[in-house]
């Protein structure tokens, strides 16, 4: 630091000792932003302000509370649910849990992919990536399944096109134009290749 600057800073510190040695203190504070807390009187006009300041009013203090309140506690493990469909189990557990969901049992190719994924522990990144890949395969399977049951899925309806039409018609037109341009471009390119 050159001598002139050092002398300027020293003089400023002497003029403003309450700045505790911070040079250009005033310029560091943006007074427009530095709004301070409302007064206690103002705060107390907020319904319920401070009513849970006392920790004994806080339901999650302490975080781990034994014994639990508010629940009907039964001794021992819950009765084991009968397994009627294939349910995967994390390798990081000793076995299936007493309770489990039976929605959408695994099937088709996505089911096989999930079966492989559940051979890997949750700690292995491949477990999750395989499940995500299976989800995308399952999406295609869903369309095939719809068609197999004689149901042509209303894909645009499922995506909420009626809401889009009502609440964002300009956006819908823009998206339609972009889609048309992209599809048209691809078709034009294909036709051009055929000419050669």
């Amino acid at each position: 630091m050159d001598t002139v600057t050092a002398q300027r800073d020293l003089a400023e510190q002497r003029r403003h000792p309450h700045h505790h040695g911070h040079v250009d203190y005033e310029r560091q504070i943006d007074y427009d932003l530095n709004r301070h807390s409302p007064s206690l009187e103002e705060l107390q006009r907020i319904p319920g302000w401070g009513s849970d300041l006392d920790k004994k009013n806080r339901p999650a203090v302490p975080m781990e509370r034994t014994p639990p309140r508010f629940i009907h506690v039964t001794a021992g493990q819950p009765v084991q649910q009968a397994q009627t469909v294939e349910v995967f189990c994390s390798p990081e557990r000793p076995g299936i849990t007493p309770l489990f969901g039976t929605a959408q049992p695994p099937k088709w190719l996505s089911g096989s992919m999930r079966r492989l994924a559940y051979k890997l522990p949750e700690n292995d990144l491949r477990h999750w990536l395989m499940l995500l890949a299976a989800d995308r395969v399952n999406m295609v399977e869903g369309i095939v399944d719809d068609l197999a049951h004689g149901h042509v899925p209303n894909v645009l309806g499922e995506m909420g096109i009626r809401a889009e039409l009502r609440h964002n018609p300009a956006g819908l037109v823009r998206k339609a134009l972009i889609a048309t341009a992209v599809v048209g471009g691809i078709l034009a390119l294909r036709n051009r290749r055929r000419h050669y």
Partner: protein, 394 residues
């Protein structure tokens, strides 16, 4: 019965499915009268949660009437009006005995890192959810909570997740009197976290988002300051300027994996899925909190990994607390707050939609059209509640 039916990313419809049945002596079947769409349902809807299978029925925020009970159920009977916490929990495992209901070890065979959750993929146990006319409710003596007569269903349905999660977010922040609390996210959970921060004696509450109508709502509803991060340049710098250059005492991440605001996080987290979602809000929370401050996380992230400045967290001596809300431990206390007028959760409901229009309801909520904050789906067999449903497409 009519139920939501997931068909792939951004595709969902309402269609007929078999009615649920009692599969365990502790089960109940509940006729749903209201089911909310939660911000975290959008992670499923956008295809970001692993093992979300085609045909899955979403919905973990619902209330209803008990229709049938299993042979072992002692405390519930048909006709009881119940709110059902989003966590499935047994009440007796190592974690439930410590009131850590969201970490129950007996309800999710598919993963150990998360407990069972209604309608939230097979990663959380493979249970169909409550965006349907009927739903299977396991451990009926433990999970559901009978709704007191003076609590209306519109308040009760928000006690199943959004309000307890916002409240627990504020509680995990360990707010002290006069603290400056910054909440990232002005969705329903962020709104309730801001509102709850005052109950813990905060001196300032600041909410950060970029959706103007939501910021406007939270400013009025929770009497807080707001920041539109699109307008202030660097968020952490702006918050430092607002807090005497120290940083906020407490930062709450109420956004999770679909955050906006950082191109790098969006590309790696949302578009290419190289990380478990965009951790923008958490990144900002760590960099905006003061040294030795508290960061509380309730925003949902995926199971793999995220790019966050953990070195800054270490060097700043931050305390970080996070969990899915243990809903049931909060419910009685929050009911008292509602009775005393401290909290009025139903005011955040903006849309009551017939279940048949679920495709459009999801699209409106996801796209933030029509000033949407909280959407409630009302099934055809919801009884008198059905009369309050309004079409969003006509």
């Amino acid at each position: 019965m009519l139920a939501t039916n997931y068909r792939g990313p951004y595709r969902i419809r309402a269609s007929q499915k078999p009615d649920p049945v009692i599969e365990h002596p502790g089960d109940a079947i509940v006729r749903v009268t209201r089911a909310c769409i939660c911000g975290s349902d959008l992670h499923l809807y956008h295809g970001l949660v692993p093992d979300t299978r085609i045909g899955h029925t979403f919905g973990h925020e619902f209330v209803g009437i008990v229709e049938e009970v299993g042979s072992a159920v002692e405390t519930l009977k048909p006709g009881d009006r119940v709110l059902v916490p989003f966590n499935l929990f047994c009440g007796s495992c190592f974690f439930c005995q410590r009131e850590l209901y969201s970490n129950c070890h007996n309800t999710n065979p598919e993963a150990t890192a998360v407990g069972g959750i209604y309608g939230y993929s097979h990663t959380t146990g493979g249970y169909d959810g409550g965006q349907a006319e009927y739903v299977r409710v396991p451990m009926a003596d433990v999970g559901p909570y009978k709704i007191p007569e003076d609590i209306v269903d519109d308040d009760a349905v928000l006690l199943t997740d959004a309000l307890p999660t916002g409240y627990q977010a504020a509680e995990m922040g360990d707010i002290k009197q006069g603290d400056t609390v910054v909440v990232f996210g002005a969705g329903p959970v962020g709104i309730f976290a801001a509102k709850s921060a005052w109950l813990f004696g905060a001196g300032r509450v600041i909410v950060v988002d970029h959706v103007e109508y939501r910021l406007d709502f939270v400013r009025r509803y929770a009497r807080c300051e707001i920041i539109n991060f699109r307008e202030v340049g660097d968020v952490a710098l702006h918050i430092k300027k607002m807090t005497d250059w120290l940083g906020a005492d407490v930062c709450i991440d109420a956004v999770g994996c679909e955050a906006s605001g950082s191109l790098a996080q969006t590309i790696t987290g949302r578009w290419t899925m190289l990380q478990a979602g965009a951790a923008t809000a958490l990144f900002w929370a760590i960099n905006s909190v003061r040294k030795a401050g508290n960061v509380s996380i309730v925003g949902v992230y995926g199971p793999t990994f995220n790019a966050v400045p953990i070195g800054n967290a270490l060097n700043k001596g931050i305390t970080m607390r996070m969990n899915q809300a243990a809903v049931k431990r909060h419910v009685p206390h929050l009911i008292e707050h509602i009775r005393q007028g401290h909290l009025n959760p139903k005011e955040i409901i903006t849309h009551r939609v017939p279940l048949e229009e679920v495709s459009d309801a999801y699209h409106i909520f996801s796209s933030k059209y029509d000033n949407c904050i909280k959407t409630v789906l009302i099934p055809p067999r919801a009884g008198s509640a059905r009369a309050t449903a309004t079409s969003v497409i006509h």
